[in-house]
């Protein structure tokens, strides 16, 4: 927990960085902006990181296992720390029986390696490996996960343990904290269940933090008066989660890895699938506490972890909040006296479900069409775009834009989220959310709902550059 010394992989990466001469790096970095595939990079020696995708039996609680797919036989996968602007190589080995692909979520990478077959990244065949060379940017808390299709198989895609943290260290880290913790929220043992909206949807038996149910596994250990930086990821395939740390507040400093204009203290965090929150907690309440899901039935399903101050013991304490609280706009830039309206091109996008039977999952449409029949919209490089996300459904949708960050320009109710940069936003049901981005990273760019069942059922589209 304490700010740790470099891991073996990091030491290896550092050594690698020192061993490879600058000319080799420059050739890689300049020859292809961020990618160089196997042949060239293998000549440089071992990769900085290796990810083995393989079947794994995860012990969720004592003597209760789930057979899944994981990275390097652990859930979450290994923490990958990269230096902003310093070329890194990652080798991915697929030891499963089906094609796989790894998406580097939140990074600005070329389409060829971003990790989406819809953008043109090649799938990794069973038994084969691929090496990526990438120039990490932007700095902050990112993650990596499978981007494969699951459909009705709730043991594939993001329903599995294929997720891990990726942190791009900024050139200058101004953070003031004593320790750093990475936590992943995930749901397991999914099955399709009839829902109130008349279609089938995934429901789960078990929910975990870092692959363990509450009370199983090592507690988080902290010391009084420490400032602990929590990096929390919701890697759930479909579920939104609220988490609180009893007796404490979170000072939110970054959303989706990007520093927020107005850090604020909040009693709980809400994370939609794929969202991340970085928040500092001042440890001033020596005791044993629960950090867990606020909703009782989800915490009862296991989503929580014990936090233990040094020298404290006993049963962990949970103080049940009375309501769910979260508001993106708390962290936005204060409104300017006279807002400056840039030249922005608006793109309206309407999300609607399409009924396919009470015994099936709904299909999803963007502007009336399901992927792969959705329109591919052409972007002009350098132009700023406003996506008007009109959610005409009773579901909230975590909307993700690949290879770019966007600004929350207007949230439901006309509230401003200016200054908040994200790569995933939860678009509220029956509401309109506006996001803006500058087309500054040419290449095919995928846009989709990050709920696995929704993207599998057509909730995707592509942008291309002119």
């Amino acid at each position: 927990m304490a700010r740790r010394s470099p891991s073996l992989a990091e030491r290896h990466a550092n050594c690698y960085a020192e061993c490879v001469n600058r000319r080799q790096f420059a050739r890689i970095a300049l020859g292809t902006p961020a990618v160089l595939m196997s042949a060239q990079t293998e000549s440089l020696g071992p990769a900085d990181y290796t990810i083995n995708i393989a079947p794994y039996s995860l012990e969720l609680s004592r003597h209760s296992f789930i057979k899944t797919i994981a990275y390097n036989a652990q859930v979450p996968g290994p923490l990958i720390r990269l230096q902003e602007g310093k070329l890194a190589t990652i080798e991915v080995v697929n030891r499963t029986a089906s094609e796989e692909i790894v998406h580097w979520h939140g990074l600005f990478l070329p389409s060829e390696i971003d990790g989406s077959m819809e953008e043109g990244t090649r799938m990794i065949s069973p038994g084969s490996k691929t090496r990526y060379a990438l120039m990490p940017r932007p700095p902050g808390f990112r993650w990596y996960h499978t981007h494969s299709f699951a459909g009705h198989n709730l043991n594939k895609g993001t329903y599995t343990g294929q997720h891990g943290f990726l942190f791009v260290e900024p050139r200058d880290n101004p953070g003031r904290y004593d320790a750093e913790v990475f936590l992943a929220l995930h749901d397991w043992k999914g099955h399709l269940l009839a829902s109130d909206d008349g279609s089938m949807r995934a429901a789960y038996d078990v929910s975990t933090v870092n692959g363990r149910v509450l009370g199983f596994g090592e507690p988080l250990k902290v010391k009084a008066n420490q400032r602990v930086l929590f990096h929390i990821l919701n890697s759930s395939p479909t579920e939104v989660h609220w988490v609180a740390l009893s007796g404490h507040e979170f000072e939110v400093t970054a959303l989706d890895g990007n520093i927020v204009p107005s850090p604020k203290r909040v009693p709980m965090l809400r994370l939609a699938p794929a969202e991340r929150v970085s928040a500092i907690v001042e440890m001033r309440q020596p005791d044993v506490w629960v950090l867990g899901e606020v909703r009782k039935h989800i915490q009862a399903a296991g989503m929580g972890i014990v936090l233990e101050y040094a020298g404290q013991n006993g049963n962990p304490e949970w103080q049940q909040p009375e309501k769910l609280e979260w508001d993106y706009t708390l962290f936005a830039r204060p409104p300017a006296p006279t807002p400056v309206e840039d030249a922005v091109t608006e793109i309206p996008l309407v999300f609607k479900p399409k009924f396919t039977g009470h015994g099936a999952m709904e299909r999803w449409t963007i502007n009336g069409k399901s992927f792969p029949h959705t329109d591919t919209i052409t972007l002009q490089r350098g132009q700023r775009y406003r996506l008007r996300l009109k959610n005409e459904s009773t579901d909230d949708h975590p909307i993700h834009l690949h290879r770019h960050s966007f600004e929350l320009s207007q949230l439901p109710g006309g509230r401003s989220g200016r200054g908040i940069l994200k790569d995933t936003v939860l678009a509220d049901a029956n509401m309109e959310t506006w996001i803006e981005f500058t087309a500054d990273d040419p290449g095919l760019t995928l846009f989709h709902c990050h709920q696995q069942d929704h993207m599998d059922m057509g909730f995707m589209m592509l942008f291309r550059y002119a």
Partner: protein, 260 residues
């Protein structure tokens, strides 16, 4: 909820008896804990038995109104209670009888590929409406929704404890349903209700009850249940033409909040 509670003929009795108080093929879902389901079953025999036989009123132009109250116990069991009434020219509104029906299901956490539950129903009906006054039924329920199709089978077994059919021992009275979702709100299909007589010695086809309904389900809200249809009897022992309707409403007594 995608599913509508489907239904069955609880009391298909031999030639001289009546039935058609609750015409429903059951689905495997049970009522949620802390929730009460209130249903009104309205069935009108357009064409049926016109003569009084062995003191039992004829079914012709009888209007049956049955109230069903079902309480969810937990996420795998419920108990239902019925009040049966009949209205007919010359007889007025009459109480017919009451039944109680506990039911358990395979919990969803077992992840079975089909829905499975089993109900048992015990009850009394007045002899002027059925010579078999005390009856018991055990009803296995299997169902499955596949895309727009829904399938349900209820191979029910019946036992008469008091009345002329005591000697029959177990009777076999299967029901089934196949329906198709035309839209999210409207489903329609065929419901089948039968009483073959004794399990080990079926009645002749002439004496069996065989009914087919064209039925509609309106899925307007998870809280409401609306089903109606028209059915024909295929044998002499079956009422020939019946209209049926079910109107149900769920009432939740649990004060659940966003944090529950």
């Amino acid at each position: 909820m995608f599913s509508v509670l489907f239904a069955s003929l609880f009391c298909t009795l031999p030639l001289a008896a009546q039935g058609n108080y609750e015409i429903q093929v059951y689905g495997s879902d049970t009522v949620a804990p802390g929730t009460t389901m209130l249903e009104l079953h309205s069935n009108f025999t357009i064409s049926g038995q016109k003569y009084q036989i062995n003191g039992v009123y004829p079914t012709y132009h009888q209007e049956h109104e049955s109230v069903e109250i079902t309480q969810g116990i937990n996420d795998w069991s419920e108990v239902g209670f019925y009040i049966f009434t009949s209205e007919q020219n010359g007889h007025g509104m009459q109480w017919v009888g009451d039944h109680i029906r506990p039911r358990v299901r395979v919990p969803t956490s077992w992840h079975w590929p089909i829905g499975v539950s089993i109900s048992t129903e015990i009850g009394y009906q007045r002899p002027i409406y059925s010579l078999d006054t005390w009856t018991w039924e055990i009803r296995p329920i299997l169902d499955k929704a596949i895309a727009r199709w829904y399938f349900a089978v209820n191979p029910a077994l019946e036992r008469t404890w008091h009345g002329p059919d005591v000697h029959q021992k177990l009777g076999f009275a299967p029901d089934a349903k196949v329906s198709y979702d035309f839209t999210k709100e409207i489903s329609s299909g065929v419901e089948y209700y039968a009483d073959y007589g004794g399990l080990y010695a079926f009645d002749s086809f002439h004496d069996q009850q065989q009914q087919f309904f064209v039925a509609f389900d309106l899925n307007v809200s998870p809280n409401w249940e609306i089903n109606f249809g028209i059915g024909v009897g295929a044998t002499a022992a079956t009422d020939h033409l019946i209209f049926k309707a079910i109107l149900g409403r769920r009432f939740s007594w649990r004060k659940s909040t966003a944090i529950d």
